[in-house]
Symmetry: C2
């Protein structure tokens, strides 16, 4: 069996482009005992990949992707072609963590992504399979666990979500609305803001036409209780200014920071002054919340209460362009590659 892969060819020092990848074919062995062969049908394009494309990944959880290998640790959906593992049969739709390639041999019991990326059969009776790469997968888990770490699952507060038309942001925004919060959503184009106005938020603002701090003061003069941060930098600084006492920030990641080394906010003393809590989190470390999230979000999706947008690129060879476009802010909603 031959598998087509997109391998990392070079670690970008600045903007990611197609020149940092190459497409190659490799031989796959037959599946051994406990393994399955999967033909991938959808693969995921995530902002977090950028951090791991550094030559020297930051200390801590992340490891850099090695050159000459496809990226892994990315949820991918496929169909089982051949199985030698109990519980998996030919034709099953599954997810696993060996993305950016056409076929993969997957060890059914090997832990991946702290349980989240371990091989798993998906129920696709009422659910398009690619939803499991978005609202019912890592993205949904990220949005939901961010609200969980900010102690914001009970509703009734004012919540600001930045990059609210992005993959995670759109979901965090709508989950917060469904949970009964008053939600402020920010984005960077008129089209995104117009879309956000249709999903039940209290206010949607465009940070490119109005300084974000002024926009917040205008739409939430009493301040905010929770900030779901997808941006960092000046947005985080504005949030600290706008926070009410005992506010919480869920720090989901800062796309704007991944390609540079910015200074942090100059008003961090407010964290002490207002008794704030800043919680960094990664959805992949909240496997315990996966089924709770899939039940709630799956229900809202099927009832049409949550709108889910996709930017789909066709063909594995388009994956690098999809990543570059997403990092440049040119995609809407979840960025996917259909194989």
């Amino acid at each position: 069996m031959r598998s087509t892969q997109i391998q990392v060819q070079d670690h970008p020092s600045g903007v990611v482009g197609p020149e940092h990848f190459r497409q190659v074919e490799v031989d796959l062995p037959d599946p051994g005992p406990g393994q399955v062969l999967v033909r991938n049908t959808w693969t995921s394009v995530d902002p977090g990949l950028r951090l791991r494309l550094r030559r020297h990944a930051p200390a801590g959880y992340f490891t850099a992707f090695p050159l000459g290998q496809p990226m892994d640790g990315i949820l991918t959906v496929g169909e089982v072609v051949a199985s030698r593992a109990e519980g998996f049969a030919e034709g099953d739709t599954v997810w696993h963590s060996f993305g950016w390639r056409s076929h993969a041999i997957v060890d059914a019991t090997a832990d991946a992504m702290n349980g989240v990326g371990t091989l798993r059969v998906l129920d696709t009776r009422d659910t398009p399979p690619q939803w499991y790469l978005g609202p019912l997968g890592a993205m949904g888990l990220t949005a939901y666990s961010g609200l969980a770490v900010a102690n914001a699952l009970d509703g009734g507060e004012r919540v600001w979500v930045s990059a609210a038309a992005g993959a995670v942001g759109a979901l965090a925004t709508q989950i917060a609305v469904q949970l009964g919060h008053r939600v402020i959503a920010s984005a960077g184009t008129a089209a995104k803001v117009a879309w956000l106005r249709e999903v039940g938020v209290e206010a949607a603002v465009d940070y490119r036409t109005e300084p974000i701090g002024e926009a917040l003061a205008r739409v939430a003069p009493d301040g905010i209780d929770v900030y779901f941060d997808n941006v960092g930098g000046d947005h985080l600084e504005a949030a600290l200014d706008a926070m009410r006492m005992f506010g919480r920030v869920a720090m989901c990641g800062s796309v704007s920071d991944y390609e540079s080394t910015p200074s942090g906010p100059s008003n961090l003393f407010l964290v002490t002054a207002k008794h704030l809590t800043l919680s960094g989190f990664r959805g992949s470390l909240h496997f315990d919340l996966l089924e709770e999230m899939q039940a709630k979000v799956g229900g809202w999706l099927r009832e049409g209460k949550i709108h889910y947008q996709e930017s789909v690129y066709d063909g594995l060879d388009q994956a690098p362009a999809a990543l570059a476009d997403m990092l440049a802010g040119l995609t809407v909603g979840k960025t996917l590659v259909r194989l």
Copy 2:
């Protein structure tokens, strides 16, 4: 009755000096129903005062001290001279929140400092009264509640305390040791470091002779679990680098930040990457922990397990110099004024 007061005369824009204060005498009325007249004997000099000496105090909890008034919201110990309030008798030793003046009329039931600064009779049978301005007062509550918000009351982890020879730092360091943590302590003079080596820490480092990040990597190569931050700036940045997964930072305040507007750490993305939690806190918002803290810390003090240093200035007229010296790092341990 005449009361001598130190009033705020000007809001310093940079370094605080005696020229920003003036000493005046004012007339006090007789105590009314529910009030007591207190002759103050000890008053407290706290780093947090600097934030409230700004012309425009930061949004949120703090309010700026008005010109032409003595500073309040500062724990002060005194003796009841006359009482018209139930539960308070002439000769009682009490604390309240009207410091930087010789005498005060205090309403016995008025809430001050979220309960912490409300008029309260102190047990001085085994306890020097000024301990209630230090280890058994706001300072002890700050140290203890910082470890509480960092979920670090159970011991068994590696804890770094910065400014560890300062008022709060010395106490946080020793409480952490008594709770069974392995403690790294940092300070900025050889004398402070030498003192810290005598209180049971795993390591004490001098950030003026070795970059703090290198010192941490040397003494805690496996990283730290908890950081009790009294410094901010480069120390917080070094902590984020050194943190292990799921680490917690208790953000107590940043003396170095109070006289300038620094940039925040450039590595805040590690908060997300390592699933860190940064908890700002103020001891005065943890009145619920006061009695638990006084029982534990009082016991350790009387057993000689916790060492407590004071820098005492004699006479109310020395209060501005005491504040300036403390902000310049020239005092050791708790800074006090004896009236």
